[in-house]
């Protein structure tokens, strides 16, 4: 392949980079920030379309891969970026942080995730990860007059920097062992019996797990998540809890299943222990939260645990179940956050659980939507959350991890309590104050779309499962 046709494979990333810069510059020309929001929304849509027309293939000596797997993840990123833009418009105005950079940062972060999903090389992966992370650090601190937001950004940055350093160290250890950073070449080296049992490899794998564990907020590398999720502007929290997490899973899966699939290191055992801890800590700590953002932060930690089951299974079924799970998770989690954002106004923040008291009386439609998201996060049919969990459990059982699934279902029964608590507050208590609701049209569209998706996938998931399956050619 000549240079130009190799570049073709990278089209979506190039478009995204270009458009993100256009959005950044547009800020200088337009005073009206809605225009910028619109422009960035259109940009994501354009990139999504371009991506469909991009030929699949590997570029630059397997450093960059455009395959079905990457495509599926990129669509998760596009959807979450687009939804985030939709739900940000009014929030930024209300919170008085309506700066145009916000949108370009979302685009840059998405670009970083896209590169991660397509990375066939550890250095490429690192580049994408840093681009994504640096943009989200800024986004987390976007409410700069609020000490909590600043604290969130700083914390995220400090711990993120640590994890990046660990990632780099891990990459260098793997390099010293395999002599390459190309993932598919590492796989070849790992297969070679002469190389087995090397201490460097073990250490490298452990370091990579730590770094990726940080990105997907798996226990014990989750400490940053609750504070950052609580402090960051709510749309950013929604975005962070879905996009970067999915990107983390994309690289985790590619590196471990393709790269170390046949390594003698028992990374599945390490991940199993992590999955159990993640589900346990996430669900149990969520029980006692009174701030809904914090509660959802712990819940998103727990959900990473469920998705990990698919990776641990390490079968094609497992990987596609994990992809399907993250896809579904995007809708239900951003959906729940959207309800939180809708309740945010000048007078109330809508972040304390008390703000939900009697919501069913004052805003019946909004509470019904929240009810759907909460039951979906619990995994009760006929919502998408059930189908997601079901498929993951099925794959894990088929791979022989019945004990893990038993632990997972026990924790998901525990999780029912804190999701139900929100429903309880909304439906079974009397309202103390009436929150004024002035939803922007974009928010209304977004929240109804997500509800529709949650219910549709809950009843007829076939298309999406099939999609995840066919895309899953690593």
């Amino acid at each position: 392949m000549d240079f130009w046709s190799q570049l073709q494979v990278m089209q979506p990333e190039m478009w995204m980079a270009g458009l993100a810069m256009v959005v950044l510059l547009a800020e200088l020309m337009f005073q009206e920030k809605t225009v910028i929001a619109l422009l960035s929304g259109v940009s994501v849509a354009v990139v999504a379309v371009v991506n469909l027309m991009t030929p699949s293939g590997a570029a630059f000596g397997n450093m960059f891969l455009s395959d079905g797997y990457a495509l599926f993840f990129k669509y998760i990123f596009y959807i979450s970026a687009l939804l985030t833009i939709f739900i940000s418009v009014r929030y930024l105005r209300v919170e008085d942080i309506n700066h145009g950079e916000y949108y370009s940062l979302i685009l840059f972060s998405t670009l970083g995730m896209m590169i991660m999903a397509s990375a066939g090389d550890l250095i490429m992966l690192y580049l994408g990860l840093e681009l994504m992370a640096l943009s989200t650090y800024v986004l987390a601190g976007f409410r700069r007059s609020d000490p909590k937001s600043t604290e969130a950004a700083l914390k995220y940055f400090m711990l993120g920097a640590f994890s990046s350093a660990i990632l780099l160290y891990g990459i260098s250890l793997v390099y010293s062992y395999a002599g390459t950073t190309i993932i598919s070449d590492i796989a070849q080296k790992v297969k070679d019996p002469g190389f087995r049992g090397s201490g460097q490899l073990v250490l490298g794998v452990v370091f990579l797990i730590v770094a990726f564990g940080f990105k997907i907020a798996a226990v014990p590398f989750h400490m940053w998540a609750p504070d950052v999720y609580e402090g960051a502007p709510t749309p950013v929290t929604a975005f962070m809890s879905v996009g970067p997490k999915a990107a983390g899973f994309a690289v985790l899966t590619r590196v471990f299943i393709v790269g170390f699939g046949s390594a003698s290191v028992d990374w599945q055992l390490i991940l199993s222990v992590m999955a159990v801890l993640t589900m346990g800590v996430g669900n149990i700590l969520a029980l006692s939260q009174n701030n809904i953002k914090r509660m959802l932060a712990y819940s998103s930690i727990a959900h990473a645990g469920y998705a990990l089951l698919g990776v641990i299974a390490a079968t094609p079924e497992g990987v596609s179940s994990m992809m399907n799970y993250l896809f579904i998770y995007a809708f239900m989690n951003i959906g729940a956050f959207t309800v939180v954002i809708l309740l945010n106004s000048k007078s109330s923040k809508g972040e304390s659980l008390d703000d939900y008291e009697g919501l069913a009386k004052t805003h019946p439609v909004l509470s019904a939507l929240m009810l759907v998201f909460m039951f979906s996060l619990t995994g009760i049919p006929p919502t998408a959350g059930f189908m997601g969990k079901f498929y993951v459990f099925q794959a894990a059982i088929n791979a022989g991890y019945t004990w893990l699934v038993i632990i997972a279902v026990i924790f998901s029964a525990i999780s029912a309590y804190f999701y139900l608590r929100v429903v309880m507050y909304m439906y079974m208590r009397d309202p103390k104050t009436t929150v004024e609701l002035l939803p922007a049209p974009t928010e209304t569209v977004a929240v109804f779309f997500m509800t529709m998706m949650v219910l549709y996938i809950g009843v007829l998931p076939s298309y999406f499962i099939q999609l995840a399956r066919t895309s899953m050619s690593l």
Partner: protein, 508 residues
């Protein structure tokens, strides 16, 4: 064999989805038009009932195979089908379900005053889901209906219930969810062991090794025992029944707790015959404990609804006793008693609801001498009380008699012990009747109006059923004869436990 096509419409789909689509219609009615909402729900559920009647008339009683079968691809990616059908075990429950639905609307007509729209939507949704449980022949379809039912039920208890409603609702939800999730694991394991299918009929056609049967039996037990509820996982029931609004109690007592027993009949026995035979003694023991324990607790209850709730524990103990007697009499008695209990306990909860609307108290001590104030009400209550005790000529007698017969055959000790349950049962129900309806007229109850036409209309169908089943049980037993004898045959054929497997299990 009846198939859906000869009828002109897919009857099972209609009965399941008419209420669900109806819920969407009610959703569109504006909040203020409460009368419209109520009338629409009543109309929809009545229509559902009428459309379900052909099941009763056209059901082929000579066949043990599935009838009115509907089968469609549903989620091909996961090998799930939309597969419905009924046999002699399930058909009557669908009818009971659609009948009780109407009564629930009628009894709630004036009782529910807040969030009226949400209430009727929940009622319609739960109606569809419950019917779905009884006719699903695909495991995942079954599981989805089984779980989906929890959402509206949680709301019905938690939003419109009594003072401790939230606690009860959450307790109910968590208990059932834990059980169901363990069953889900069992279902997935069965899927792989049975050749990657969720088709219940195909899965039933296979033999599984004893150790597998053993574990799966317990996984399914977790779900079904909680729903029944069997001792010792019954503790959610008194709370949920007591705190739920009348319609909720009726659904719980009438249909929802039958699902556990139905699950044993439909899945546990035919799928895991060896495990069922091996575990039967333990199940019998748990049943006897439930019978006696539930009955004794009833003696000391001071709360009307709580008393009836605990009597459910005792009565459902009879049902599981009959089922795990594993003989034709026991099984038929068990199924009939499930119906009876649905009718009688449903009726008793309706009666309490009628009274509660007037007095707003459930304390037995607040009543007395009602017979002179509310004569019609007292007569109705008398019939249902006697039916609950098991007076010959009323429905309770037939079921309990068959169960005891089967129980004695299986284990004389269990039979004797459970018979004492009937005696205590008579004691607490008659004591209740005496305290509420006779004795000095409590000044608080003066001036209550007797039942009006709506209330009589609500209870009359159940009264007719009580007498009908009592006098001519064969009208109902004839539905299940063939299916039950097929099940008994199956248990006899495949239920013998290889001795080696038992020893191995004992060593474990």
């Amino acid at each position: 064999m009846q198939s859906a096509s000869t009828l002109g419409y897919p009857i099972l789909t209609t009965v399941i989805f008419l209420p669900i689509i109806g819920a969407l219609l009610v959703l569109c009615i504006s909040r203020g038009k409460e009368l419209w909402i109520k009338s629409a729900s009543l109309f929809l559920l009545t229509l559902t009932f009428v459309l379900s009647l052909p099941l009763f008339v056209l059901f082929d009683k000579a066949s043990h195979s599935m009838q009115f079968v509907e089968r469609q691809e549903w989620i091909p990616a996961l090998n799930m089908q939309y597969y419905l059908g009924v046999d002699g075990i399930s058909v009557l429950f669908i009818l009971l379900c659609s009948l009780l639905g109407i009564l629930c609307v009628l009894i709630s007509w004036n009782a529910i005053t807040s969030k009226v729209k949400e209430f009727y939507i929940s009622l319609l949704l739960i109606q569809g889901a419950m019917t779905g449980v009884f006719c699903s022949l695909d495991f995942i379809l079954f599981y989805i209906f089984w779980e989906a039912m929890l959402i509206p039920m949680f709301l019905i208890i938690g939003v419109w219930g009594g003072p401790r409603r939230v606690y009860s609702a959450v307790k109910f939800f968590l208990y059932t969810l834990v059980g169901s999730l363990l069953m889900l694991i069992g279902i997935i394991v069965l899927y792989y062991q049975g050749g990657r299918t969720f088709d219940v009929m195909v899965l039933m056609g296979q033999q599984y090794p004893f150790s597998l049967q053993f574990w799966l039996f317990w996984a399914f037990f977790a779900a079904f025992a909680v729903k029944v509820p069997m001792f010792p996982v019954h503790t959610w029931l008194p709370d949920a029944h007591t705190e739920a609004p009348t319609a909720g109690s009726v659904i719980l007592a009438g249909i929802l707790i039958k699902m556990g027993a139905y699950g044993f009949l439909r899945f546990s026995l035919p799928l895991f015959p060896q495990a069922a035979v091996a575990m039967a003694p333990y199940m019998l023991a748990l049943s006897v404990v439930a019978i006696i324990y539930g009955a004794v607790i009833c003696l000391v209850q001071t709360d009307l609804k709580r008393l009836i709730a605990y009597s459910s524990v005792s009565h459902m103990g009879f049902v599981t006793l009959g089922i795990f007697a594993l003989n034709a009499q026991g099984l038929e008695g068990g199924i009939l008693q499930m119906l009876n209990h649905g009718v009688v306990t449903g009726a008793l909860f309706l009666m309490v609801g009628v009274l509660y609307e007037r007095s707003h108290t459930r304390e037995i001590a607040n009543y007395g001498g009602l017979a002179s104030v509310l004569p019609v009400y007292a007569s109705f209550f008398m019939v249902f009380t006697l039916a609950s005790i098991g007076l010959p000529g009323l429905n309770g007698f037939v079921g309990e008699f068959l169960i005891l017969l089967g129980g004695f055959k299986a284990s004389a000790l269990a039979g004797v012990l459970s018979a004492t349950g009937i005696i205590i049962g008579a004691a607490y129900m008659l004591l209740l009747y005496q305290k509420v309806f006779f004795q000095e007229t409590n000044p608080k109850v003066q001036g209550y109006t007797d039942m009006d036409a709506r209330e009589i209309l609500t209870l009359l169908p159940l009264l007719i059923l009580v007498v009908w089943i009592g006098v001519y049980p064969n009208a109902f037993l004839s539905f299940m004869h063939v299916s039950v004898s097929d099940l008994v045959l199956r248990l006899a054929e495949h239920g013998a436990v290889p001795l080696k497997a038992l020893e191995a299990a004992a060593l474990k």
